[in-house]
Amino acid sequence: MRVNCLINGINRNFDIEPGMRLREMLELNGNFCVRDSDDCEGFCGSDTVLMDGVPVYANLVLAGEADGCEIRTPDGLSEPGKISIVQQAMIDAGLVQSAYNAPAAALLLTWLLETNPNPTKEDIKDALSGIFIRDAGYEHYYLAVKLAQEKMKDGKYSSEIAPSFHPEWEIVGKPMSKIDGPQLVKGEKAFVEDFVDKDSCYMVLLRSPHASAYINSIDTSKAEKVPGVVKILTAYNTPDTHYMQAGQGNPEPSPHDRALFNFKVRHVGDRVAAVIAETYEAACKARDLIKVDYEVLPAVFTVEEAMAPGAPLVHNGIVEYRSGAPADLEEYNKLAGDPREGRVIYQFPLHADIHKNIAASNKGEIGDVDKAFAEADAIVENTYQTTQIQHAPLEPHVCFAKMEAGRLVVYASTQVPYHVRRICGWVTGLPENKIHIIKTRVGGGYGAKQDILVEDLTGYAAFATGRPVYYRNTREEEFIANSTRHPMRVHVKMGGKKDGSITAIYMEVCANTGPFGNHCLTVPMNSCSKTLPLFKCDNMRYDLKVYYTNTPPAGAYQGYGTPKGTYGLMMAMAELADKLGCDYKDMVLKNHVEEGYMLEILKGLGEGREGAVVPVGSCGLREAVLKGCDMIHWGKKEVSDDPDWKIGKGFAMIMQGSGLPGLDHSEAIAKLETDGTLILNSGGADLGTGLDTISAKVASEILKMPLERITIVSGDTDSCAFDTGSYASSGTFFSGNASVASCEKLRGMILKEAAYQLEESEEDLEIVKPGAVHSKKTGKTLSYYEISHTACSGGGHGQLIAHGTFITKASSVPYGAHFAQVAVNVKTGEIKVQKFYALQDAGTPINPEIALCQMYGAVMKSIGHSLYEDMKLDKKGRCLTSNMTDYGVPMITEAPDDFKSVLIDVTDKFGPFGAKSISEIACNGAAPAIGIAIHDAVGVWVRSWPMTPEKILRAMGKIK
């Protein structure tokens, strides 16, 4: 059928199939920033366009309907090389982070201001009600509208965007546009899908319908005959190399318990076969023709089932150790079952026992816990449960790989390019020099892209076929075949004295890692190591066990295990305060750590090795608690004018880390180009959180040159040097510090070279703006251009290139306190978060506006986890909530009415320009703050998340 329409003011004609969607037609037209993030579910809004001036979802419109219509897309909002006021306001407000939906949001705000130049808060909320934002939250959208209005009216902003820190610096600690903001908000090429070659093959996966089964045989004969099929990969024709998908430092504290394909499937959605074909349709058709003979096995889904005597075993193969093998290993391996079980290989002991489904364990204590419990005036002992939740990044896991000049080139949306390279090397057998990983912009990571879930297979497929291969998870696959937050059972026993001091804490953590052991030690360990050190308590014990089950896999998720540990510990503390008759705030103030307190508890909590006992460093915890209590009027009972609604308040102390001291490693290379500009090659992986902007800002501050003259190239394994990656809150602290190190070194080199060229002594020289060396003695000035040009002109010393490395034993811990005020309906159990205040000490916030949005985004995620999100499985392990609508991500409608993020001004000793990490920690406070507030409102403790109306009603005894 023929369609004639106006797209961004240009008349276009198309001959289309009747079933073609408008988005597909726009993609053909080159409007690729009209995306799809939910497989046409009509939920996320990545496909929003204006049709005859009205916002619609282009995926839910058939292209034929557009005949005679005028269409506007996000990429039409600004001319090439220019940026619209609204787009710039979004960047300036800190909203353009992973930004998969930023272009669509810019279009909606533009439409709003065009049709309603003075929108109210409700109008803005309404305009954004159909777009899902996971990265930066919604709060600063109100600010962006205000900024745009001001710019339109007065040509400049008059509102404060974010507070500034450290007046002695010009760039660091000041709100300034994120350097990749324009590319992202304008919808330019940025993500993996934008770099796929036209001749690329498609890969689709056949996944297991069973939670546990042996594969007896796979018949691919019919599938192979489908025209266009290039290759079908299964366990029968791929290497038996065992590895794991967690992107962690090598050797990893996770067992190598899988191959590319296994002869035993261990969860619904597990890989069975991959079809690589010239078209997507051919790949799907062939997949449907593959015949698999399964021997279905009994399965386990919860830690309780997994630990039961005689429980079916998730792994029952041969166990190997790369180091530290136990003496009885040979005996142990005599119990191994069917050869199709595969192997489990430990890099070092994780105190595992696969014959009990235990993937890892750890325990330790300080002081005399039993004695301290005996001395307590009151003890509380309860179990707090958390369910399985998903990161739900807008951009699903996606990869494009090809062979080029004998090398494997992989375009990856990843937090860990160098770990991707290592694992692609393991599965293909290629050495690292033959692999090139290009990290594109990441359209949402949150830990999900710390795991190498698709690059291993896509890379192998390109290697095995010699063809370019493109793979993208469906939204359903994101739920069933990805990593998720480990469901946990956190048992806490806490004892205290009448004066409010805590005498002893015991914490037992049982985590469900699913079928594979990605991060199986480190995630649960964080439940203890990033929570117990909040307490000034001399008697603490922890015991953690991680179980294999047949649920969809678990792995890294922003906060690791900390949100769950914090939920258990802070709820228990509030329960103890209640039992002792103390005010919870007083109890918090009495028991929290302060700068200088020695954290003995850390000695057993290393990541699979001895932990370092360190004192508490910079710490804004007390200030956060006190300020937050003031803001929320702690102690004042609020009363609703509707007697069915009761109002309560709660808060929680929180902490995290800033990378892994002694394990993480970052490098950066600063190069002064021949015209005096700077290219900084950072090994760090910016996943949208502004790491590249941090590198640019520290370079600008140190070298006193304007940001426009600095380019950051990052996460490219060919041009940059090694970095462990962006996880465990390491980005700012480690990669940022490497950038600082390289720039400081370059500054030294510039001074030395200038001294040589000026024939003066270095001591008489200083670096001055805008990128020059000035002699305090002679008054002469050499620009960076002159210095670099001379250095590279035959007779000089060569290009000025400085290499900075950052490793440390120092631990810089961010602290904070999160406050919630909720209203609970005593008749229906409904709950509404009315107020949420997040107060955090992030050291120096290098990008304050981005930092605030990181906090809003993380809090929104954890409000989601606390109240709505849940991967519900049926009795056979099938996920019943594998789309956005049923799973329950929070949208703008769920955002608290009064929502504030506050940065506590603290300067850290070790961080770059005093910075610590910001975003992971912001996931930790919502669950306990809301749980405690629910109790304050209606007097019941809801000890499992999500804290649903049904659970509240049950706790209140209204339903049995």
Partner: protein, 273 residues
Amino acid sequence: MVEKLIIAKNVKETVSLMKEGFQPLAGGTEVNRLNSTVKGKNFVYIGKIADLKTIEKSILEGVSGSYIKIGAVCTFQDAIENDLVPGYLKEACRFMSSRVRRNMATLCGNIAVRRDDSYLIPALLAADAKLFVYSMFGRKSVISLSDYIFKKEKYGSYFVAALLVNTETGAVSQKRYANTASSHGYITMAAAKKGDMCQVGLCVKNSGFYVFDGSKTPDVVLKDDIFGSRAYKKYLIDVTREDLVSSVQGDSGCCCDGSEKGKASEKKSGGAK
């Protein structure tokens, strides 16, 4: 997968194509969404039929009272923005939380798809709404919404040209329970004052539709599912029925003059200052 798409110029063409097995395509938010409940390959797009885009007052032959007629391609947002539309219906339209989807989805499409999580059907059942329909043979008639919903075998293939809502309906109060505002509702209930009594419209996800006299809850076959246990749903239905009935009997529900008291949404906010 859509194989044939015809852009209809008028109702007559639509109805004759329906006779040939074509299905109407209105806002497309159900037809084109992932896991759509609508099967079929041939569609007739009705969005360009100008006659169906109007909201106007209407007197029905042989039926007492005055009605508002909402054409088949009027969207949820059109209804919200129109002064003639009763407040309770605007409130029900707002249950569809996404503004972008409200710009697309039609009221008649929502009725035609008969989803058991329908935003509108409970309120419209409670308020005794009617439909202006065409049979496949082109015969025009006015039928009750209740017949259209409960007699699917008879009316399943009819074209709904307009929704008719009585302007004289008494107070209507309603409530929708969903995990988040964007999730599917698992219980949506509305009560409307009907003389001395109160009529309740109810839709329960995975159980179906009910319309009943508000003095007692009918037997609803409930299931344990992702939305909650049977006990929870039973409890909610009882509590909500009592609440809504007493609310409309106290005459404090939504008005029918286009203004909105929005009782249910007011309550959701917790009422705290």
